[in-house]
């Protein structure tokens, strides 16, 4: 009987270890994706609200933080999953710089916005005004939602 119990314990532990390993790997992959989605959503939502309500310094910080996070996610995923969010964020940054009269920084931000927009929609080249109009339209829609 002693042997039976020892064999049972070994079999149980082995089964548990194998199941635990695969379950942890699956859970970790799912949570990594969830964290990536979550961090981009949280920083984007925050930067939209700061853009609407905060002073230029705080709004700029929020948008720059969003841009940094999105660019890190782009690098991590080796893809262009965030190019739409990035052109919108850079357009917002350009609008903030314009309102603070930092025209050189605004020009540089809009140039970045155009680059990301090109990656998001190859072949389309809207004007700066159309891009800003688009961002304002998205913000109004988000506000109503």
């Amino acid at each position: 009987m002693k042997t039976t119990f020892i064999v049972s314990a070994i079999l149980g532990l082995l089964g548990g270890i194998v199941c635990g390993y695969y379950s942890a790997v699956d859970a970790s992959q799912a949570m990594e994706s969830a964290a990536a989605i979550s961090v981009s959503q949280v920083t984007s939502n925050f930067s939209v609200q700061q853009f609407k309500h905060a002073d230029p310094d705080h709004a700029r910080n929020a948008v720059l933080e969003e841009i940094q996070i999105l660019q890190l996610l782009e690098k991590a995923t080796h893809g262009r999953y965030h190019s739409a969010e990035l052109w919108v964020a850079y357009t917002r940054l350009a609008m903030i710089e314009e309102s603070s009269n930092h025209l050189e920084a605004a020009r540089s931000a809009i140039a970045q916005a155009k680059l990301w927009l090109k990656m998001d929609h190859p072949g389309r080249e809207p004007t700066e005004d159309q891009m800003k109009q688009g961002v304002r339209g998205m913000d109004d829609a988000l506000d109503r939602f």
Binding site: S8, L11, G16, C19, A35, A36
Partner: protein
């Protein structure tokens, strides 16, 4: 022993179940922690660490926001959770958490106003206003706070 075969079988079964559970929980916890430390590993170490930490906190924040209901009890609990998350969150996320807390305080104030508790409402609105000013909001009037609270009360999704 009266029934050695039955005793051996049942005992073995219990041991298998117990050891499977222990092996599963222990391995899952150890492997998950180890795998978690490799999230975003295709980035440089500094960037991966930053994204990992911010990602985990953002996830905790998003999950806590999902359970907020329009009751004083739920909002109080949400504020406590946010304070806890803020104590370990990277500094870049503090303004995000402060905005969420400000919204919760403004909503608490609105609920208390509706319940006929003007003193409690004024206290919570003051906290909301202080937090909003700290994150650079330019206009923090009573109307802004009421609008913010009403929007929160009308929305199922808090973000």
């Amino acid at each position: 022993m009266k029934y050695p075969l039955i005793t051996g079988f049942c005992g073995g079964l219990l041991i298998v179940a117990g050891c499977t559970y222990i092996g599963y929980r222990g391995t899952a916890a150890i492997v998950y922690r180890q795998k978690q430390s490799t999230w975003f590993n295709s980035l440089e170490k500094h960037d991966a660490d930053r994204l990992r930490q911010t990602g985990q906190m953002a996830l905790a924040y998003s999950l806590s926001a999902l359970s907020i209901q329009n009751t004083t009890l739920s909002l109080d609990k949400s504020i406590q959770t946010l304070v806890k998350i803020r104590s370990t969150a990277p500094q870049e996320l503090w303004p995000v958490l402060d905005l969420r807390m400000a919204k919760d305080y403004a909503t608490l104030g609105r609920l208390e106003e509706q319940a006929g508790d003007p003193a409690g409402a004024a206290g919570h609105r003051q906290r909301a206003a202080d937090l909003l000013r700290s994150i650079g909001w330019q206009t923090v009037s009573n109307e802004v706070l009421v609008r913010l609270a009403d929007k929160e009360l009308g929305s199922r999704l808090k973000n």
